[in-house]
């Protein structure tokens, strides 16, 4: 039972990070029908921006201001930096290819992903960066928390899960309640018709990239709070985030959240109960099966091709 609770807590933290990445894929895919391979690398850059800001503010052990302000600042600056990066990627790598054959932006995205990974390696080397979250507030994030039975859920986990859910709820409100959200939904439903109704498509696309990349930046910080970050974390994280988006039904926001959690549970429980070595194998097998049997995902609508 203790193990079960432990794995569930792990699954929730992992799942909320995957869900945030998945949302970025979903937002962009919903509007552009483009699989943004570079998204995982935006996530990685977010982790690095967060690390830089943390160091500039005095590091985890000895921050110049209260550690909670530091955490908020780290998160916000990673989100802002990634949003700028996302807009630049869209402007220079995808916009010129908007009317090209489908395969062209995909290849361009592969190139961007590769460019980002190795640019970061050029600038910061390939060694791991540790936020040293253990030292934050003298270990309070790890030792304090609340107990379920005999298992202690550390404060850090709670912070990650709660802030991820706050971000997702904010996004949900933005998409359903605001004008620009309405424009996004209209564009994802039918781009041409939306353009004819006077919606500025370019603005909507840029906005989708801003939102998606900012969420990826936040996810990068959350990831790096749990485990050291290196320039190579983007690839696998991006792959899993995309899978989460597909499981939930790409283009659907609740779908991305559900998909992220399912993936988090799958990974955490196979690691816990079956084998650490083969957990990725099971995860990928589940995914391939999912792709083949229900490519529209849990919450997606079956794609009816109209010609």
């Amino acid at each position: 039972m203790d193990n079960f609770i432990q794995f569930t807590v792990n699954a929730l933290t992992l799942g909320s990070v995957y869900a945030l990445i998945a949302l970025g894929y979903s937002l962009v895919y919903g509007i552009l029908k483009l699989l943004n391979f570079a998204h995982g690398d935006v996530f990685m850059v977010g982790a690095f921006i967060g690390f830089g800001v943390l160091q500039a503010l005095g590091g985890a052990a000895d921050p110049v201001i209260s550690i909670w302000f530091v955490l908020v600042l780290v998160m916000l600056s990673a989100m802002a930096g990634c949003a700028i990066l996302g807009v630049a990627i869209e402007r220079f790598a995808y916009r010129p290819l908007r009317n090209a054959p489908r395969i062209a932006p995909l290849i361009s995205a592969l190139g961007v992903s590769f460019f980002l990974t190795y640019s970061m390696q050029l600038m910061f080397g390939s060694q791991q960066r540790d936020y040293n979250a253990f030292a934050m507030a003298n270990g309070a994030l790890f030792f304090k928390g609340f107990d379920i039975g005999s298992v202690r859920v550390p404060l850090l986990r709670i912070v990650i899960v709660v802030s991820a859910f706050v971000l997702m709820i904010l996004l949900w409100l933005l998409v359903t309640k605001t004008r620009i959200g309405k424009a996004m939904r209209a564009t994802s439903y039918d781009r041409e018709a939306a353009a004819m109704m006077g919606i500025d498509i370019d603005r909507v696309i840029v906005f989708a990239f801003v939102l998606g990349s900012a969420l990826a930046g936040a996810a990068g910080v959350m990831f790096a709070l749990r485990a050291p970050a290196s320039v190579t974390i983007g690839f696998v994280a991006g792959l899993k985030g995309f899978t989460a988006a597909v499981i939930g039904g790409i283009g659907s926001i609740p779908g991305a959240m559900a998909g992220g959690l399912i993936l988090g549970f799958a990974e955490s429980f196979t690691q816990g109960y079956i084998s650490t070595r083969w957990s990725d194998l099971f995860v990928f097998l589940i995914l391939i099966a999912f792709m083949l049997l229900r490519p529209q995902g849990l919450f997606g609508k079956a794609d009816i091709k109209k010609v």
């Binding site: 054959p101 995909l106 390696q121």
Partner: protein, 493 residues
């Protein structure tokens, strides 16, 4: 005058997926007159097999002209890359299917060869049996991996093949405990120091990797023979019913299905052909290295092969071969700071010449950059000696000359990432500008490029090589999606 010439035979053969009139209009406009035009037309009428013979003869003569183990090794690697690019061209260029698991087939070929002729399970099949067997294994696995393509298309297919690639890596790196037996040797691979994978054995003779420390030239010739066979075979396939059907599938799957083509079968066939070629390349790679290691078959290799196909022109066999040569030679040059420096400044000058031709603006840009450099250098050295006292990476006369012009601080610190990000931003901004503003921004950009190149990028050739690959992929897709030699595709909407 050129309009009165009768249409050439080459331009009138019907090609699927090409709007003849539109395609030829551009050609007609671009056609030169006078002597260059005549030469160009003569060259165009040289048959393909003549080019192939000439090319193979040139590669075969290379180790005779340059008798060094390094040149042989690079030539061998290039031929293996050419094989890989030819195989990928079948799936991506002809079939129009984005296969991101392609390198896994290469790995499967190499591992199959290693398992069938090594001490791992003490199986030692003769090479002439192993190689066809491995090719057959590759073709079958390719068929199986292609099965999802019956239901999925585009991005979904890409991601499923990428999963397959990941599965391959997971299985291979953890394969030392597969149901309690050591199959793939885990992260140590098969072979290695004791080199227990058999080398190729042809006509009763072992092809040892090196004789007297020099790379065995026979591996180059065997790879070249593989290349010729694959090239000719694929050319015939492409000019058969299957090849035409593939192209129609690439252009419009729905229309192809309407015309009665077995679309699913064609997709599987494309996967299978590509995988078989990749597996074949894997055998010679494993035979040469005397071992296989999981780190070889990683994502960077996939991107490298993709860059070759895209740069050369996907869909054109000659194109992907040229792409493989260009990219591999580029990657080799980038390894050594002394050599890549010449290449970098040469490319900058050529690029400027191509944009401005010989004009006043070119003189302004070049002169402005040179003056700016000396000015910055003088200011920096008067402020602090440490700003110009750093050592340059690699040597050569150019490095010595540049030390008087580019500032090379003894330690960069945070300036490395700042200057690099500034350079990337400036280059991106440049693509949005025009006229005199562009020239005004170009001058500092060029100087900053030289600074970043000398101080940041030359210090880390490994990262620089892959950055260049990524940039090539994006730039080719935007500037010239058909690549260098690929045929121009006309979108019919």
């Amino acid at each position: 005058m050129s309009e009165q010439r009768p249409p050439e035979s080459a331009g009138t053969t019907p090609a699927v997926g090409k709007d003849e009139w539109v395609a030829r209009l551009d050609d007609n406009r671009a056609r030169r007159t006078g002597l260059p035009g005549v030469v160009e037309e003569r060259l165009r009428n040289v048959p393909w097999w003549a080019w192939l013979t000439l090319f193979v003869a040139a590669v075969a003569a290379l180790p005779i002209v340059y008798d060094s183990g390094y040149v042989r090794r690079v030539a061998f690697d290039t031929v293996v890359y050419m094989l890989l690019a030819l195989g990928l061209n079948v799936v991506v260029g002809w079939g129009g299917l984005l296969d991101l698991g392609y390198v896994a087939f290469y790995g499967i070929g190499a591992y199959s060869y290693a398992l069938l002729s090594s001490n791992q399970f003490d199986v030692h099949l003769p090479t002439l049996v192993t190689v066809p067997l491995v090719v057959a294994i590759g073709a079958v696995v390719g068929l199986l991996v292609g099965l999802p393509s019956r239901r999925l298309s585009g991005d979904y297919l890409a991601i499923v093949t990428l999963f397959f690639f990941q599965l391959f890596i997971v299985v291979v790196t953890n394969g030392d405990h597969l149901f309690g037996t050591n199959v793939t040797g885990g992260s140590n691979g098969i072979g290695g120091v004791e080199a227990d994978v058999d080398p190729f054995n042809l006509f009763g003779r072992d092809l040892v990797v090196s004789t007297g420390g020099i790379f065995n030239v026979w591996y180059l010739y065997v790879a070249l023979a593989f290349f010729v066979v694959v090239f000719v075979l694929l050319r015939f396939v492409n000019h058969s019913r299957i090849g035409r059907a593939w192209r129609s599938l690439r252009e419009d799957p729905l229309a192809a299905e309407m015309m009665g083509m077995p679309v699913n079968w064609l997709k599987l066939l494309a996967f299978s052909f590509g995988a078989a070629v990749a597996a074949l390349s894997g055998t010679i790679f494993a035979g040469l290295n005397g071992g296989v290691f999981p780190t070889t078959f990683a994502f960077p290799l996939l991107i490298t092969v993709y860059t070759m196909v895209i740069l050369g022109g996907s869909g054109s066999q000659a194109g992907v071969v040229v792409g493989a040569i260009l990219v591999n030679v580029l990657l080799e040059l980038l390894r050594d700071p002394g050599q890549s420096r010449y290449l970098f400044y040469f490319l900058i000058v050529v690029g400027l010449l191509a944009i401005f031709r010989l004009s006043v603006r070119l003189a302004v840009v070049l002169g402005g950059t040179i003056v700016l450099g000396f000015a910055v250098h003088a200011i920096a050295s008067s402020i602090s000696d440490a700003a110009v006292s750093g050592a340059s990476n690699g040597g050569g006369w150019l490095a010595d000359a540049l030390r008087q012009w580019v500032i090379t601080p003894s330690s960069l610190g945070a300036w490395a990432p700042i200057s690099y990000v500034a350079l990337v931003s400036l280059v991106l901004v440049l693509t949005l500008l025009a006229g005199w503003v562009r020239i005004a921004v170009l001058v500092p950009t060029l100087y900053l490029a030289a600074f970043v190149w000398e101080n940041v990028m030359l210090a880390k050739p490994e990262a620089t090589r892959f950055i260049v690959l990524g940039a090539i992929l994006v730039a080719v897709m935007i500037v010239r999606p058909s690549g260098l030699l690929g045929e121009k595709r006309v979108e019919i909407v």
